[in-house]
């Protein structure tokens, strides 16, 4: 399943998409530890598969939650993407 977490507002689209089919097979789930803000969490989805998603409290402010990794200028360091070998995480901005 491709789960899109985030929002759209007047300033743009701010979504993190996670291909949860890849998370099922990913045993260590390194993204959880790698994210400095601990935005991601592990849970059993509606079909009882163990997957990763964005915590509820970050979904409506994801642009700001991820700001540390995505400064307005300079190098971006998306730790979640770097450690995700299967390439399950994408950011819309």
């Amino acid at each position: 399943m491709i789960a899109n977490y985030g929002y759209k507002d007047g300033s743009g689209d701010f979504f993190i998409s996670i291909d949860t089919d890849k998370c099922i097979a990913c045993e260590d789930k390194p993204c959880l530890e790698a994210c400095p803000i601990k935005i991601l969490e592990k849970f059993a989805d509606d079909y009882d598969d163990e997957v990763v998603g964005v915590k509820e409290e970050h979904r409506k402010k994801i642009k700001y939650s991820c700001a540390e990794c995505k400064p307005a200028s300079g190098e971006r360091n998306l730790a979640c993407q770097k450690v995700c070998q299967p390439g399950a995480i994408e950011h819309s901005w």
Partner: protein, 290 residues
């Protein structure tokens, strides 16, 4: 004192299938969808729709869930003891005290739409009370992808209720009235319901008819959800669930913008989530989860 008309108020009701006798059923399940604006309880006998209620959500979720199931069971002779498994869904799903399990409204709407519209449905737009979701599913109603926008009330049932009250038009007439314009106006520019309200008041003052303002608002709502759909893509067949699916003014503009016709159903579009919940409940009984 003069009675204050509540233009936002939509019809609350319950229904029972006269062709089903629940005493003949092997598996009786329930789905309770407690949304921010409305609550529905659906009871299914062996996976067929037996009874439901559709009402406004009260001040707390547990009571709303209880009122909904009691109203769905009214005059059936059923009690909660006869129900083998109950799934809670929607915004208040974790606050359904008698639910055996909570399942997200995303999964429940996909499963419910599969039942209501058939296995050809691939894209579902759920326009609920406080949020809007676009979902892709397979022929079994399993979610393939989803996107949700719940950051503000614009483009939602609550936003439409606020507008109905502001313009003094019954919520059930908003759609039809919005189509009574000679020329389609541009959408209201604001995506925020608070600013859209201010903008609408200004337009009325400047001489716009109520119908024209409604047309502009329905158009803005349609436009807003189209952009959400664009993010995950449109795959036919296409269906709309939730209360806004009953608003012909939004649906027809949406269809026009998308260039796609939405499927029709004989079922109430507001009960899709609760139907999905009851179907999940049946599958869980069959898996021996209770």
């Amino acid at each position: 004192m003069a009675e204050v008309k509540e233009y936002w108020r939509w019809k609350e009701y319950n229904w029972k299938n006269p062709d089903i006798n629940w005493q003949d059923a092997a598996v009786i399940t329930a789905g309770i969808d407690v949304g921010s604006v409305s609550s529905q309880a659906v009871i299914m006998c062996d996976g067929e729709l037996y009874a439901f209620s559709n009402m406004r959500t009260g001040s707390d979720s547990p009571n709303s869930a209880l009122n909904a199931i009691n109203w769905a069971m009214a005059d059936t002779g059923l009690t909660q003891k006869n129900i083998h498994f109950t799934v809670g869904t929607g915004y208040g799903r974790v606050n359904v005290p008698f639910a055996d399990r909570a399942i997200t409204e995303i999964a429940c709407h996909a499963r419910g739409a599969n039942y209501m519209y058939g296995p050809t449905v691939r894209t579902i737009l759920d326009m609920g009370g406080q949020d809007c979701k676009a979902i892709h599913c397979n022929e079994k109603g399993k979610v393939i992808s989803f996107i949700m926008n719940d950051k503000c009330a614009a483009g939602t049932g609550r936003g439409m209720e606020v507008f109905a009250n502001l313009l003094g038009v019954s919520i059930e007439e908003v759609g039809e009235r919005s189509l009574q314009v000679d020329e389609e106006p541009g959408p209201v520019s604001s995506t925020c319901v608070v600013f859209a309200k201010t903008e609408a008041t200004g337009l009325l003052r400047s001489g716009w008819s109520t119908e024209k303002v409604l047309a502009a608002y329905c158009s803005a709502m349609a436009h807003r959800v189209v952009s959400l759909l664009e993010r995950i893509g449109m795959e036919e067949d296409f269906a709309i669930t939730g209360g806004i699916a009953k608003n012909v003014g939004v649906v027809s503009r949406l269809e026009k913008e998308l260039g796609v016709k939405a499927l029709k159903t004989r079922h109430d579009t507001q009960i899709a989530g609760a139907i999905g919940g009851a179907l999940f409940a049946k599958a869980l009984v069959e898996k021996g989860k209770k």
